[in-house]
């Protein structure tokens, strides 16, 4: 190999090593807190940078909040809301914001997050996250709700893109344009759920990898990874259900690498698992795969920055 070639390889190795160091310092990987995983989590805290706790499970439950505060004294905790319905033309209920405000005050998480979804209409609770029609009206409604949330809770939530089996009726904006518009209008960061991107891409006919650069990467702050399963549609076709009951598939780790290559900021990655729990070793192996994907993405980012210079 010519001397110039050797120097180039050495320089790239140094850049990758530097990226690895930066990565260790900046990016973090943790788990979604579930009671069924408690014993495994506590005995493996050295492999888990932080825990994400579902906030709604603690609303109006003082005994559980005391336990949560104890947990938060041992490991970094972030709060994740599921019931506000922020992406709606309906104003978010004050009592829900007040509950979140009290919990944030008591637990003092690093941040709190909620979904870009609607969960009720006409006073009826859907019982889950429904995809909001992507229009200028709902974009404006979401921005207003996020502004109210920030005022009442005392900090802005990080907002999460959701998975949907149905292409939301009445939409006239693309998913990326709608999300980007909300982030800009509300000046919020994104909790980028990569399995939701993967599922929506497969179910609604777009390339998940092409989706990521359509969102401002400077808004990426946290990331969810999870697994799902294909279910049969009434017409015999199949769609991917984001059920959090399966291991993270390889394409989601590839998307994580892409996100890390794009993001200029430290990322907080959470592995979500809601049931059919595998061994803790299996979960920790997925945590490790996430760290490797982050490192690959950071190395690519650093190399590309070097080329630009």
């Amino acid at each position: 190999m010519a001397a110039e070639g050797v120097e180039a390889v050495a320089a790239e190795a140094a850049v990758v090593a530097e990226a690895d160091t930066m990565n260790e310092l900046q990016d973090r990987v943790g788990l979604g807190w579930r009671a069924d995983l408690a014993a495994g989590i506590f005995s493996h805290l050295e492999y888990i940078d932080l825990l994400e706790v579902v906030a709604d499970d603690f609303f109006g439950a003082p005994r559980q909040i005391r336990a949560l505060k104890t947990l938060a004294s041992q490991v970094s905790v972030v709060l994740h809301g599921v019931g506000m319905g922020l992406a709606s033309s309906v104003p978010v209920e004050t009592k829900r914001l007040e509950k979140m405000a009290r919990l944030v005050e008591q637990v003092r998480p690093e941040f709190w997050s909620e979904h870009l979804a609607f969960v009720r209409g006409g006073g009826i609770e859907i019982g889950h996250l429904a995809a909001t029609p992507r229009t200028a009206d709902t974009l404006e409604g979401a921005a207003e709700n996020l502004s109210r949330a920030a005022a009442l809770v005392g900090s802005k939530p990080i907002v999460e893109n959701i998975a949907t089996l149905i292409d939301p009726p009445g939409s006239n904006l693309s998913e990326s344009a709608w999300i980007s518009g909300i982030l800009a209008s509300a000046d919020c960061d994104l909790l980028l759920d990569l399995h939701n991107v993967y599922a929506n891409g497969l179910n609604h006919g777009y390339d998940p990898k092409a989706f990521l650069p359509q969102i401002p990467a400077a808004r990426f702050r946290a990331i969810h990874i999870a697994g799902g399963k294909f279910i049969s549609a009434p017409d015999g076709s199949q769609r991917l259900l984001d059920d959090h009951l399966h291991d993270v598939p390889d394409p989601v780790f590839e998307l994580l690498e892409e996100a890390a290559a794009l993001s200029p900021n430290p990322l907080t990655v959470i592995l979500e698992r809601d049931g059919a729990y595998p061994s803790m070793d299996c979960l920790l192996a997925q945590v490790e795969l996430a760290r490797q994907a982050l490192a690959r993405g950071r190395a690519r980012r650093t190399v590309s920055q070097e080329v630009l210079v």
Binding site: V90, G121, G123, I124, E125, T138, I166, G170, N203, A233
Partner: protein, 93 residues
Amino acid sequence: MSARAFEAFLTHIYMDAGARARFKANPRAEARRAGLSDEECTALENTDWVGLEMAARSFARKRELKRKEHPRNSFKDTLRNLLASFSAPFRRH
């Protein structure tokens, strides 16, 4: 017509299998009956029908799971939905 009414209509067809069947049989008439605008009625004629059925079933499964895991919250939602249904514009006919 408002985005709020549109979200309420979507909620109705996600939650009520009978309403969903009527909507699939005649989307424009059902959307019109709910007071939606011409533009909204047209948008609803292009509904992702396969996705609608799958999403509605998925929501039903989630509610059932929630009823088992969080019976207190589930009861509150059920009661709230019952009360809301008395004043909802989408009455069974």
